[in-house]
Symmetry: C2
DNA sequence: GACTGCTGTTACCGCTAGTAACCGGCACGT
DNA sequence: ACGTGCCGGTTACTAGCGGTAACAGCAGTC
């Protein structure tokens, strides 16, 4: 059967592609985001041109690699957003899920957040202006969607939800990045501190005696 | 005079260094963060080895370049934090200062936030584990300092202030990055949305009818 | 048996960061 | 006046990168 054979071909090449991605994964996890195409090809037991046939160029391979991890992380965050309890519980669960993920796989985190890409060919690329860190954007958009569909925010709720989505994600990102580097206290405490911040404790706190005030 | 001449030498080399930095600045602003050392040397009217004598390696030059802009931005943020008015006014003024800066000089912003550095030599570097985006860290630490010295946050105020400092900076960063790319509404509106978020409107908002709740 | 499509190779290009070795002028001690 | 360092500057090079052209072998199809 012709179509059957074509299907076999297609699934075979897709399996091959997945194998290559796993090899690339191993190398990136071992050598960091600066892994060279030669190293990845060697790890996969082949040579460079095959990688280029499968992924086009280096950023194509990196995008494919990032998509896997990003999808996985976003899925766990979604389930955390649907966890039982009141709103504060859900927010804390989501923060916990994110921080737990970056704590468990810091190499993956580093790869996703600091990919160190560089087109290096002027503006010949298709859409060279693209941001090199799409994970933050995707998390922000996802959270904005959830906020917009679940909260009653008045007339301009779409705008507000997106600003908040990206803002909250950024808060989680920067605080997590700092915390992961220093580990000054427990994950649980960071979650509570951030939730407190979102719950308006900054606005409610009193000025320190003798300070010009904030 | 010996010391006088030595002073002349020192100031001369420092002036030269500043000239080279300005040339590098021009090239980076024109070509983006992927500017090559050759291009920078050409812009300065010299050749590569002199750059390497002055700055060690590429990341040294980039660090020196980033330090200038980072210092300038942090200074304007500090003055915004000291602006007159109540706390909400100060927070909004600071957000405005940051967003205004990245809006006025997006190329500088892109260089500072997405430097695309790559050591590429395994772990031979001095402290290769360093984060490639120090601006966020410095802003976070600065804000944490201000918070800790001006707000009364109870016993573990130092911890809390740092978590909040980095968190707020991250919120500002991610929301600003998204906003700068899409410009869906005015800067003023984004400032108000983010301040609302910090003022606890997320916790106070009601659930939408028929949603599972957030 | 010729044709086609796929995986794989070797060998190369142009570019990059970074370095070694050398050249010339200018201020110094004697 | 004369070496003698030092310093800004150069040319010419290395090693490695991303990326590609051209070719080799092996399946299945007509």
């Amino acid at each position: 059967m012709e179509t059957g054979q074509r299907e076999d071909r297609r699934t075979a090449t897709e399996r091959r592609r997945a194998e290559l991605l796993e090899a690339a994964d191993r190398v990136v996890l071992r050598d960091g985001p600066e892994a060279s195409m030669n190293a990845i090809a060697a790890e996969a037991g082949i040579t460079k041109p095959i990688l280029y046939r499968h992924f086009g160029d280096k950023s194509g391979l990196y995008r494919a690699l990032a998509k896997r991890h990003t999808d996985a992380l976003l899925a766990t965050l979604r389930t955390a957003l649907d966890s039982p309890g009141d709103r504060r519980d859900r927010v804390e669960a989501t923060l916990h899920a994110y921080l737990g993920a970056i704590e468990a796989h810091p190499q993956v985190y580093r790869f996703l957040m600091h990919p160190a890409e560089a087109p290096a060919d002027g503006e010949k690329g298709l859409d060279a202006g693209r941001h090199s860190v799409p994970l933050l954007r995707r998390m922000g958009e996802d959270l904005a969607e959830v906020i917009a569909e679940r909260l009653d925010l008045g007339p301009d709720s779409a705008q507000l939800a997106r600003a908040w989505g990206h803002g909250i994600v950024g808060m989680m990102y920067a605080a997590g990045d700092w915390w992961l580097g220093e580990r000054p206290f427990s994950r649980d405490l960071l979650v509570r501190h951030l939730a407190d911040l979102l719950w308006g404790r900054l606005a409610a706190a009193g000025d320190r005696a003798g300070s010009p005030g904030l």
